[in-house]
């Protein structure tokens, strides 16, 4: 622990002229119909010039509210207490005339959603120059010049043209860079970035983070980076603060928090994260339960109901933020001592040398407390066993019939698509709605899904992966190509003929909030597929109870309505509904991307258990490569409607051959500070081209680092003229690149 000691001594001699932002005992309370809602409780931190502080937490942890309070952007009914000083000047409670001199000038903010952050009726140039004019006595012309300069700084190509355009003419990544340009317009001392890349694709995320770094270098500002993505934090910040239930529960250098967490929640967060950089370990270790309701915060530690090591004192006395570094007496952490590792846990020292798996068991249940979870776990295990027995019996009979026992995990091919094409017409805006073009959402892809296998379809937004999934279920009709299930061609069937087969092919949706009818009880929701397929009501009721058990919910939950459940529980209800008809194939369309990290792990584990026991095949559609690496057996990477690379998970992640796959993998931030900062990067430039007018030849060439950097003129011609075929390079690992070469990236 000598390193930590050194840091402590450094930090105890702070030069306070360097402090740009000082937050002390900041509390925010919102009035609500159910009583006061404490969104932020006694948060204190200090930020020095040039430093980056990461604030991590799940939704509802108060991380955004804290910074909105500092900016004075909260609604008027919010009660803000404590103090926040920017360069020594108190900013809380300032009048509009005074705070508007500070905002945008000394302290600037970047928001989450670039698509809604810019006013649609003004040009981007106007909106940037507006920020300049607000604080500087310069002419409009000078302000516009500055706007142009800023657009160049954040790396927007052709800034002279872009400056005259309206926000809707720019892609999401470019709009976020415009917002960054606005934030740095007056060279502020502090930039607060609130989930700046959450709404963006990974390759664009890498570009925007790059622009953010540029902004920081250029202005010398200190930065607060708020995010739920531990990977982004690992790569871009010096210090981390973990928030939970409105409080800072752990603070310290990024290495301390990532390698030596001293608060069970921080440890749990790290454990529940599927890792791209590690061998697939057996199970994720989710944190049971859900974040606490701020209206009914437990007495004592807010994390106690979810904490496996909680004891009586944890439920009685709320732990303070105490120093946690190596041995000795723990003392209250002082915000000025920025190098000190502090945690709000009564038993921090017990976590020394402990891994997430030691503390959290891989529980599948999504119960409210640890005890309930154990109970539900047991029930779910029993239910699984029962169902598995039935399934085993069935398959044993089948096996006897066929006279051959199945061996290995993946069985025979169950669902295939061949040369699948789907075009959506673009229509003119006139009265006649003439067809004036086509968007090729899916252009000629072939896939095979085997029994008991998870095939992942990955790609960025707009690559056609969800359309492919829907085509495979025949929810929409293809333009050309074939889909067959167990040798039967589905695309020739009528809706009526298709109906009995639908039992075997079921879907789980992305958004657990929109996919459940709010006016139906959970029982009705889960029973609906059985009702449609004419099962009798009594049988269906028994089956609903069994299913709820199976997905880790209590059967008593059946009479409740969806709004009474958390996101993770709702997704479990969605899974129960999909399982109601004993399907063979589940299509999972981004099933965990709307969930918080600690919840996501539980759902992933559940999916794995169900596959194991029920022998399901999964088509797993996702943009999250870490989750895919964890759960999938085989992976197909899509780009602009085509598959660019496919292989087993080990092949694809171990030695990706297509430049796009390589770029995708290298763009995923690793939740490991050292690895993240030292790894090799393959950077993609620009945005995904419009699928209405895809590039000739290889569709990826416009963004390809190889095309731009390595290839000779003659080699490039081939990329421009000849679309690459998906070719097997031996061992079933196929890629569609003329100049593919496998590289090890992890």
């Amino acid at each position: 622990m000598t390193t930590t000691d050194q840091k402590t001594t450094e930090a105890t001699a702070p030069t306070d002229s360097d402090v740009v932002l000082e937050v002390r005992d900041l509390s925010v309370t919102f009035p609500s119909d159910d009583g006061p809602l404490p969104a932020v409780r006694e948060v204190s931190y200090v930020l020095r010039r040039g430093e980056t502080l990461g604030i991590v937490g799940e939704s509802g942890s108060g991380k955004s509210v804290t910074s909105m309070a500092i900016m004075g952007l909260l609604p008027k009914n919010a009660r803000v207490e404590g103090s926040a000083k920017v360069l020594g000047q108190e900013v809380l409670g300032l009048k509009d005339a005074q705070i508007s001199k500070v905002r945008g000038n000394r302290i600037a903010m970047i928001f989450q959603d670039p698509l809604t952050s810019l006013n649609p009726v003004y040009t981007v140039g106007y909106q940037i120059s507006e920020a300049v004019l607000a604080h500087r006595k310069v002419g409009k012309k000078a302000a516009m010049d500055r706007a142009l300069e800023l657009l160049k700084l954040v790396g927007i190509p052709h800034p002279e043209q872009r400056i005259k355009q309206y926000p809707h003419e720019l892609s999401g990544g470019m709009r976020q860079r415009v917002v960054i340009a606005i934030a740095m317009a007056n060279e502020p001392d502090v930039i607060i970035a609130d989930e700046p890349t959450t709404a963006l694709d990974v390759t664009v995320q890498a570009q925007v983070l790059e622009a953010l770094e540029a902004a920081r270098r250029e202005t010398g500002a200190a930065m607060v980076l708020i995010t739920h993505d531990l990977g982004v934090v690992a790569g871009h910040v010096d210090r981390v603060g973990v928030m939970y239930g409105g409080r800072l529960v752990e603070t310290g250098s990024v290495e301390d928090v990532f390698y030596r967490p001293r608060m069970p929640y921080a440890l749990g967060l790290l454990g529940s994260l599927p890792r791209l950089d590690e061998e697939r370990h057996e199970r994720l270790t989710p944190i049971v339960g859900t974040p606490p309701s701020l209206l009914a915060l437990p007495k004592g530690c807010a994390f106690a109901p979810r904490c496996p090591m909680a004891r009586d004192i944890c439920r009685e006395e709320e732990p303070r933020l105490l120093t946690a570094a190596g041995g000795g007496e723990r003392r209250p952490a002082v915000p000025e001592e920025t190098g000190v590792h502090a945690a709000a846990c009564h038993f921090s020292e017990e976590l020394e040398g402990m891994g997430p798996g030691d503390l959290f068991k891989g529980m599948a249940a999504d119960a409210a407390t640890v005890e309930e979870a154990a109970e539900a776990e047991e029930r779910a295990a029993e239910a699984l066993e029962e169902v598995a027995e039935d399934a085993a019996q069935e398959s044993a009979e089948k096996a006897a019939e066929e006279g051959a026992a199945r061996s290995g995990k993946a069985g025979e091919v169950i669902l295939t698509v061949q040369d699948l094409v789907k075009n959506f017409p673009i229509r003119s805006k006139g009265l006649l709605k003439r067809k004036i073009g086509e968007v090729q959402a899916v252009s000629g892809i072939s896939l095979e899904l085997r029994e008991r296998e998870t095939l992942a379809l990955v790609g960025e937004s707009g690559c056609g992966k969800s359309t492919t999934a829907r085509l495979m279920l025949q929810l929409i009709k293809q333009t050309a190509g074939e889909v067959s299930y167990k040798g039967q061609a589905l695309h020739t069937l009528s809706a009526r003929q298709m109906r009995p087969l639908r039992r075997d092919l079921q879907l789980v949706f992305q958004d657990p909030f929109a996919s459940l009818d709010p006016r139906m009880t959970v029982s009705d929701i889960v029973a609906e597929p059985m009702r449609i397929h004419g099962r009798n009501a009594k049988e269906a009721r028994a089956r609903v109870r069994e299913l709820l058990d199976l997905v880790g919910l209590s059967p008593e939950h059946g009479s409740r309505y969806p709004h009474e459940f958390s996101g993770g529980q709702r997704q479990r209800i969605g899974i129960a509904r999909a399982l109601a008809l004993n399907p063979k194939v589940l299509v999972l369309d981004e099933p965990v991307s709307a969930l918080d990290v600690s919840i996501q792990a539980g759902v992933i584990n559940l999916l794995e258990d169900l596959q194991e026991e029920l022998g399901l095949s999964y088509l797993f559609v996702s943009h999250d490569l870490s989750v895919v690496k964890h759960i999938a057996d085989r992976v197909a990477v899509m780009y602009l409607g085509k598959i660019v690379e496919t292989g087993t998970t080990d092949q694809l992640f171990g030695a990706p051959a297509h430049p796009y796959t390589q770029a995708l993998i290298s763009a995923i931030p690793l939740p490991d500070p050292v690895k993240e900062r030292t790894r090799e990067r393959i950077v993609v430039t620009g945005d995904v081209p419009s699928p209405a007018d895809p590039p000739s030849g290889c569709r990826f060439r416009t963004r390809c680092p190889k095309f731009a950097g390595v290839l000779s003129e003659a080699e490039r011609t081939k990329c421009v003229e000849e679309p690459p075929e998906l070719i097997d390079r031996g061992t079933g690992h196929r890629d569609a690149c003329h100049y593919s070469e496998a590289r090890e990236l992890l």
């Binding site: 508007s100 928001f111 604080h135 809707h168 606005i182 006139g430």
Partner: protein, 336 residues
């Protein structure tokens, strides 16, 4: 933008033609223009009826009559929309529909125009104030007034306002507000300031009546749209830039919140014209409302057609203006 305008204008022509066919058929089947004549006691000579039928072209079939009404080919020179003639009237042989219509159009446009301008202006102000002070006493008061105005039928409200005007005049001891007539006769021979005073005197009460319903619904609309914009991310970003509150409200919130209101106002024109008929009736203006009611009473089908065509055109033109304005206000739907 020019191409878009031309296209929008052209595409409104088939709508107008379709509307004219529909109204022509509806009016034709809904009554016999000569029913009064036929019912006369003692019964008039059949030759008189035949003459009247010929004069009104009732001796021809409906499609023929439509064609005639549209083009005037084969008529007696008093019909043919494309020649600017609206057809014979039942009211008298010398009654010129077109001339009457134009005379009254000015009177009505004055009322409709004033009512719309005031309704729009006040609605925007009330909506913005309501939204900025959401859930305050002021907001609740404006909401109450809005719903009260929405709930009141125009004719009834017109009666109340008229009575109030009479009462006020009695109290003041002189005629501050005229409660009867459109004041066009009285305006003759007045100087500029006299004209202004006269206009104020005659127009105040009817304008209040006519604008109130529109004001109520538009202000509710403006409040909702303003609230939505005030909670938007770009207004938050504008604040985060350091713009003072009033600039944020004017430049970022109000400017964008006005866009949806243009459509609502354009669609509302039809309602205002309806209201104008009743208002003119109560205040005894000789405007299009009175023209319409007389035409209905006298079964004057060509006059009715002329009126419907004119009000239909006004609605379509208003929508066209709104569409074009939309293009100006919102760059996302601007056409190249």
């Amino acid at each position: 933008m020019l191409v878009y305008t031309v296209r929008r204008v052209l595409s409104s022509i088939p709508i107008l033609i379709l509307a004219s066919v529909l109204t022509f058929v509806l009016i034709d089947v809904s009554g016999d223009p000569l029913s009064d004549l036929r019912m006369q006691q003692p019964p008039p000579d059949p030759s008189v009826i035949q003459l009247a039928e010929e004069r009104l072209y009732l001796d021809r079939s409906m499609p023929e009559r439509y064609w005639l009404w549209m083009t005037g080919i084969g008529g007696h020179g008093d019909i043919g929309l494309l020649q600017g003639k609206f057809g014979p009237s039942t009211q008298s042989t010398t009654y010129d529909i077109g001339e009457n219509l134009m005379m009254r159009l000015g009177t009505t446009l004055r009322l409709v125009g004033a009512a719309m301008v005031f309704a729009f202006g006040l609605a925007v102000i009330a909506g913005v104030v309501s939204a900025m002070r959401q859930y305050s006493k002021l907001d609740y008061s404006l909401t109450f007034i809005g719903f009260l105005a929405l709930a009141m039928p125009v004719f009834w409200f017109a009666g109340i306002i008229q009575q109030a005007g009479v009462g006020f005049n009695e109290l003041a001891g002189s005629m501050v507000f005229a409660t009867i007539g459109d004041g066009q006769f009285q305006a003759q021979g007045l100087d500029f300031w006299g004209q202004i005073g006269n206009t104020f005197k005659y127009m105040t009460l009817p304008t209040i009546v006519l604008m109130l319903t529109s004001f109520a619904s538009w202000s509710r609309y403006q409040r909702t749209s303003m609230l939505e914009v005030l909670n938007s991310d770009y207004v938050r970003l504008a604040r985060a830039k350091g713009l003072p509150n009033r600039v944020v409200i004017r430049r970022h919130a109000l400017r964008t919140a006005l866009i949806p209101l243009t459509t609502v106002v354009a669609v509302g024109v039809a309602g205002v014209i309806d209201g104008a008929i009743l208002t003119e009736r109560v205040f005894q203006w000789r405007g299009l409302g009175e023209f319409f009611i007389t035409a209905v009473e006298k079964n004057d089908s060509y006059a009715l057609m002329a009126w419907l065509l004119l009000s239909g055109t006004m609605v379509i033109v208003a929508n066209l203006i709104a569409d074009l304005l939309y293009g100006v206000l919102d760059p996302r739907i601007r056409y190249e």
